[in-house]
């Protein structure tokens, strides 16, 4: 252990700790901008400057390791002046139209300027020419707001293993973006939106569907229904000052009604439906492999996460036959709403508008895929991120905190706790095991409170196995089989897992992949900025929602059972196949 002082306070820290980490653990705050938790510090923004006795210049606390006997000042006149000047310089090149910016009052640069007492911008800086990139359905980039902190570069390369955004050019003319001056659609971007999730300013955001949704709500000839993804209820509250991890399911339902939606439903409903279809698909694949001796693509991969689908289509086309053919819960909802539910209420599919609220930007891409027209028209019309829904609620003048809790509407608003946990990494796996195990054994999953602990939490790649014994007669072919499952989140982790599977180093039957770190609760459309502490709080909230429900398993969802009885027939049946399943295409990684 090393001994040092920060602002005169004696501190011990392990060798290799940065000044920033040592200061934070001692409760001393140092402002940062380009710093990104758990990533290699770049020292790009110079906001975290501190004074170190004996050092020739000020040091960046994010990258400077502590040393024995070091004396650090985080609050000297010199430090304050340098920090303020750094921010003044950043502002001198920045398109500072804060009032009309997407990030107004949610901007780290704006907050820093306020915190550091910037009252004038003494430098007349050359500003980059605004070039708006709206080439993808998911994201909009505006270079004139970019402060070149490179957080997006780090997250796209190191966390997602995609590398679509990189510094181009050099010096003042450096542009952070896709190759040369291409737009995002010119490179193999998976549209996960993690870049937008970490951008401290308004340079990368989701492509807004807010205006389209307002217009649909105003159109009296349309029946407008909304579905909310499981992860929204654990994060939307943050837009209204609630602590991360506050569940706002009931207030959210009330807010959606107040906005004027004709049906307030839940993507959870089709999460339960996904488990019925995907669980059956897995058992069918296992039967074909083990009983019929067919060469069946295993492991089977989950297909809920559209960024992962894009990633597989670009980078691992050899695994496309391994992807579950199940559409994501969002798309299953659109298809069911515009057929089953539309018939039930006597509305034509073309007169129904389905709006999704998703923690995700890639869902905006997914709903526009040409395969997603099972009802004869586009199944999901608009996708709002959690942030966009927060904005609409504010714009409508709804006092969110004062709302009563209400329930979602029937039938597409009913769900089990297994559906809630789709929001967390490992959740789809746990939900699938709860149902699959019970279907083949007749007994509940023999795990504490039905939780599959080895696949929960923030470890990048997780695995578990369960021996299948004492099975019901029709599943006897699985007797004694040890079922191996794995879970990954974050696409760089996924790449590592896929390489192990590809080389035969690891063998699994079933693998869950989520694009974003932590799963959907850490999605690219969630309130900013999401760090691991916030991920953990949202995950705990989701588990609390699950545990608070009377039904915890997807196959117990009576509304889903009725859907099969009245409309679909059986899992993997003809109608399911038409409405709920899809196919994938290899894409050239441009």
């Amino acid at each position: 252990m090393l001994n040092l002082t920060i602002n005169g306070k004696s501190i011990t820290a392990e060798s290799g700790t940065t000044i920033l980490a040592a200061a934070r653990s001692a409760g001393i705050r140092i402002p940062t901008l380009c710093y990104l938790e758990k990533s290699e510090p770049t020292g790009a923004c110079r906001v975290c400057l501190v004074e170190v006795s004996g050092a020739r210049t000020l040091c960046t606390a994010c990258s400077m390791p502590v040393a024995d006997g070091m004396e650090v000042q985080t609050n000297s006149p010199k430090v304050r002046a340098a920090r303020r000047q750094t921010v003044e310089l950043l502002l001198s090149e920045h398109d500072g139209n804060c009032q009309i910016c997407d990030r107004n009052q949610d901007c780290e640069l704006q907050n820093l300027a306020s915190e550091l007492g910037v009252r004038e911008i003494p430098f007349e800086g050359e500003k980059a020419e605004a070039r708006i990139d709206a080439s993808t359905p998911a994201l909009v980039r505006d270079n004139s707001k970019c402060i070149k902190c490179r957080r997006c570069v780090t997250v796209c390369s190191a966390i997602q293993g995609v590398g679509a955004l990189q510094p181009q050019g050099r010096g003042f003319d450096t542009v952070i973006g896709p190759a040369f001056t291409l737009n995002l659609d010119g490179v193999a971007c998976v549209q996960c939106g993690q870049c937008a999730a970490v951008c401290p300013v308004g340079a990368i955001s989701e492509r807004s569907h807010v205006e389209g949704v307002w217009a649909a709500l105003e159109d009296s000839s349309k029946t407008v229904v909304v579905q909310t993804a499981p992860a929204i209820r654990a994060a939307l509250g943050e837009c209204f000052g609630y602590a991360p991890g506050t569940l706002v399911t009931g207030k959210m339902a009330s807010a959606l009604r107040a906005l004027g939606f004709d049906g307030v439903f839940d993507t959870n409903f089709t999460a339960d439906l996904t488990i019925m279809e995907e669980g059956t698909e897995l058992l069918t694949r296992l039967k074909r492999a083990l009983v019929d001796g067919e060469d069946v693509p295993l492991p089977m991969f989950t297909s809920c996460s559209p960024g992962w689908i894009n990633f597989a289509e670009y980078y691992y086309p050899q695994f496309l036959p391994n992807l579950s053919t199940c559409k994501s819960p969002q798309q299953m909802f659109g298809a069911v709403a515009k057929t089953y539910y539309a018939q039930k209420i006597g509305v034509k599919p073309e007169d129904m508008v389905v709006v999704s609220v998703m923690p995700c930007t890639a869902k905006k891409f997914e709903c526009q895929r040409p395969e997603m027209h099972a009802s004869g028209v586009q199944d999901v019309d608009y996708v709002l991120t959690t942030r966009e829904l927060g904005r609409m609620i504010k714009e409508a003048g709804i006092d969110f905190r004062a709302l009563e809790d209400t329930e979602m509407d029937v039938p597409l608003g009913l769900s089990s706790g297994a559906a809630d946990i789709f929001a967390n990494t490992g959740g789809v796996m746990e939900a699938a095991l709860r149902t699959a195990y019970e279907l083949i054994t007749g007994r509940p999953l023999p795990m504490d409170n039905l939780h599959v602990q080895p696949v929960a939490g923030l470890t990048g790649i997780k695995s578990a196995s369960i021996v299948l014994e004492d099975l019901l007669p029709e599943w006897a072919f699985l007797e004694g089989v040890e079922l191996h499952v794995a879970v990954s989140h974050g696409l760089a982790n996924t790449r590592k897992l896929l390489e192990k599977i590809r080389t035969g180093e690891a063998k699994y039957h079933f693998v869950e992949v989520m694009t974003c770190p932590g799963g959907c609760i850490g999605g690219g459309g969630q309130p900013r900025l999401t760090d691991d502490a916030i991920r953990c709080k949202r995950m705990d909230a989701i588990f609390a929602e699950d545990e608070g429900k009377p039904m915890r398993k997807s196959h117990e969802n009576q509304a889903v059972q009725e859907l099969y009885k009245d409309f679909l027939g059986e899992p993997l049946g003809h109608r399911s196949h038409e409405l709920l399943h899809t196919h994938y295409h290899a894409k050239e990684p441009v």
Binding site: S157, V162, G163, A164, L165, Q166, P167, Q168, G169, R170, G177, P178, A179, F180, V187, A188, P589, V590
Partner: protein, 177 residues
């Protein structure tokens, strides 16, 4: 057809398909080496004269890097070019020492003499013009380079003759079988 013209045509008529068929062998030795991307780009540019998009995308695939990362490197270093280059590259140094000793005037004179701007190539494909930021010959400022030759204490008035010597130079020996 003169030897000179043949030499010139060699680079110019090399199609991108031909470049791609040679690329694999050309860069193979750098693929598994850390830091192998820059030398690979250098050998490709020396052989092809420039780095078209198809070549860069193939290098990205071969080196298991994203296209954006490869173009990030290419656009960072002024040495790399993504458009066809002239037979000779003139680089005028605008580093601090050259700048204060008249580098800007040298650059203006070269632009006037060749009738092209920085980053461009003359119509006869003889010269391309770039600026550099220090060639490590500050004591000899102002400096310019033509291909690998360093010319010291360059006077704008003498530029015509300096460049003419290259224009006249036969290129037969550059034609590598």
């Amino acid at each position: 057809m003169t030897e000179a013209l043949k030499g010139c045509m060699c680079t110019e008529t090399m199609t991108e398909a031909e470049m791609l068929s040679e690329l694999g062998d050309l860069t193979a030795e750098y693929r598994d080496k850390p830091g192998g991307l820059i030398p690979a780009l250098q050998v490709a540019q020396s052989r092809f004269g420039y780095l078209p998009e198809s070549v860069l995308r193939q290098i990205a695939k071969d080196f298991d890097k994203s296209y954006s990362e490869v173009t990030g490197v290419v656009s960072f270093y002024s040495f790399f070019s993504t458009t066809p280059r002239g037979r000779h590259t003139v680089r005028v140094c605008l580093g601090t020492a050259c700048y204060v000793r008249g580098g800007k005037e040298v650059l203006a004179a070269v632009r006037k003499e060749l009738g092209i701007d920085v980053g461009e190539t003359t119509e006869d494909q003889q010269f391309s013009l770039d600026v550099g930021r220090c060639f490590g010959a500050c004591g000899l400022a102002p400096v310019l380079m033509v291909d690998d030759d360093v010319h010291q204490r360059v006077k704008p008035s003498k530029l015509g003759a300096l460049l003419k010597a290259y224009q006249a130079e036969p290129v037969a020996e550059e034609v590598v079988a």
